[in-house]
């Protein structure tokens, strides 16, 4: 019996020919990513060395990435001090993949990692962030871990006790209708399987709808795999992957493609005809509370957010800019745009997208996580309602338990900005 993609990656990273679902393995890590919570990882790292009588030393300075994105520029003295401590640690340990807030270097971790070619197909990537699942878009087994687990990785270079997960094959076929996007596919999938239906399992994405999808869209669907409880989402790497790594990420060294076996054994298969999909919306306060837009259009919103590790990429900003170009957003609505990286910000400027958005009435903020998790900019007032391209709508998520967050694609967000109510693209007049 053949192996799924994640089985093959875990076998390779654990020095074994083969692994079975349920085996416990200790794979070698190719990339270990943290953001500002590196402050906690550092604390736990030093704790491990306490009483060990050894000089605290990370296992490999080329395999650790630290990216400031959750609260940039620092929103408080506390964060500023944490960031200062992390910078000192980076210098002390010689960490090579460090991204401070600086020009093209800055951005959301889940954009910087692919953009800089740090993620390679067939490898194990861990991050102290649940949306580390994003990097499955490039054919890596990428998953979120806690800070103490990361401190252990910094010391040992392996992740302890990884149970080999079962894999759900998602077969997405057909062509997206106009104004329907990968975000709608993943929201639909989460609605189907529920927010815990894929707990402790992995989604492996197949089908012509995935084959024809650019890496930006694959990042969107893998990003949100965790919202169905999945340990990871993964796309078998193909020509698009190589194209992205070579031409966008600037990778020049060898790229090895690890693929699932033809006769791999899957937990089950979910078949989705994307050509039947309408724009999707996740209603508060759960990501699986999904409806087709027709069930909800006309609902008034106060704030619209376009950005995040889910939908802050150049394609996303272009879609939004094209919709609002030459028009004005509705009175009483705030439109906040957060490009996912410095490079995307600059390219969106060069192509005129940011100008179109700003002339329509948008606020263009600096790259970062922004209002997504309610700790920096764009908090909601009591009783307010947001429509957002981000990935979570839990109660209190945007900083106020007395507010609501609805999730959608950039196209729906932009169309709704023009009307002030949830609006299907093309019907915004």
């Amino acid at each position: 019996m053949g192996q799924t993609l994640v089985q093959k990656i875990l076998a390779k990273a654990s020095g074994r020919d083969k692994v079975e679902v349920g085996d416990i393995v200790e794979p070698a890590v190719s990339l270990a990513m943290s953001h500002e919570n590196a402050a906690l990882v550092m604390n736990q790292f030093y704790e491990i060395y306490k009483g060990a009588n050894l000089e605290p030393k990370i296992w490999d300075s080329s395999k650790i990435a630290i990216i400031f994105d959750h609260r940039v520029p620092a929103e408080s003295a506390k964060t500023a001090t944490n960031q200062k401590l992390i910078r000192a640690f980076v210098r002390e340990q010689g960490i090579m993949k460090f991204h401070d807030i600086r020009g093209d270097k800055m951005g959301i971790c889940h954009q910087i990692l692919p953009e800089y070619g740090y993620v390679r197909p067939g490898t194990v990537v861990v991050g102290t962030d649940s949306h580390t699942t994003s990097h499955g878009a490039l054919g890596a087994f990428a998953f979120g871990i806690g800070a103490t687990e990361m401190a252990s990785v910094w010391v040992l270079g392996t992740v302890l006790n990884v149970p080999v997960p079962a894999t759900i094959k998602v077969l997405a076929h057909g062509q997206f209708r106009k104004n329907v996007y990968p975000k709608d596919l993943i929201l639909h999938l989460i609605g189907l399987v529920t927010n815990k239906g894929a707990n402790y399992k992995v989604f492996e994405f197949h089908g012509d709808a995935i084959k024809n999808m650019p890496t930006s869209g694959r990042l969107t669907i893998c990003n949100m795999a965790v919202e169905a409880g999945a340990t990871a989402g993964i796309v078998p790497p193909d020509e698009e992957t190589i194209n992205y790594l070579r031409n966008i990420a600037g990778v020049t060294d060898d790229i090895e493609l690890v693929l699932p076996d033809e006769d791999a054994k899957y937990d089950h298969v979910i078949d989705i005809d994307v050509s039947a999909l309408e724009p999707q919306i996740a209603r508060p306060h759960a990501v699986d509370n999904v409806t087709s837009i027709d069930g909800i259009s006309g609902l008034k919103v106060d704030q619209i957010v376009i950005g995040s590790c889910t939908n802050g990429r150049l394609d996303d900003i272009k879609v939004a800019a094209d919709i609002v170009k030459g028009k004005k957003i509705a009175d009483g609505v705030r439109l906040l745009v957060f490009p996912a990286s410095g490079r995307i910000y600059r390219e969106a400027m060069e192509k005129g997208y940011l100008m179109d958005l700003m002339e329509a009435g948008a606020v263009i903020a600096n790259p970062g996580c922004g209002p997504c998790l309610g700790i920096h900019q764009g908090a909601l007032g009591d009783g307010e309602r947001a429509l957002s391209t981000t990935n979570r709508n839990f109660k209190g998520r945007m900083g106020n338990p007395d507010s609501e967050v609805y999730l959608c694609s950039p196209a729906v967000a932009a169309a709704s900005a023009l009307t002030g109510v949830i609006t299907k693209p093309n019907e915004e007049k």
Partner: protein, 164 residues
Amino acid sequence: MAKVIYKFGDDISTDIIYPGRYMATVLPDETPQYAFDDIKELNKILTGSKVPEGSIIVAGKNFGTGSSREQAVSTLKGHELVIIAKSFARIFYQNSVNLGLRIIICPDIDAEPGDELEITDGKVINRTQHKEFEIIPHSKTRQKIIEAGGLIAYTRRRLLEKEV
């Protein structure tokens, strides 16, 4: 024997357990004050009059869903709570094992606030309602970390073995 202090349904997220706005606070010892900060009555119970160690929160499926933030575990560990849930989200589960928060997987658990529960090797016994529920044991590899006193001690041991 310990008392149930609060009962939750399914899908309690890490944003509920430890709101994102406190994430700049990272040191485990500083996190307990913010536990369930958006559920004022529960936060008050935990931070006000001292709740006895081992007090129990009962929950449904998928407790700890969402973010990887470890503060969601250290904040509960700081109050030395025991969490009994029908199931746990993956990262929260592993973080609990790593930090030594006592969590118990009990798919059929039925208990109300105020009930007295006894936790044995394989069962949760509800002494108030006179019912028993099976516990799903932790895997052997997780048990090893728990027995070592958490992941810090476990990794330290592995590090020293490597150096020898």
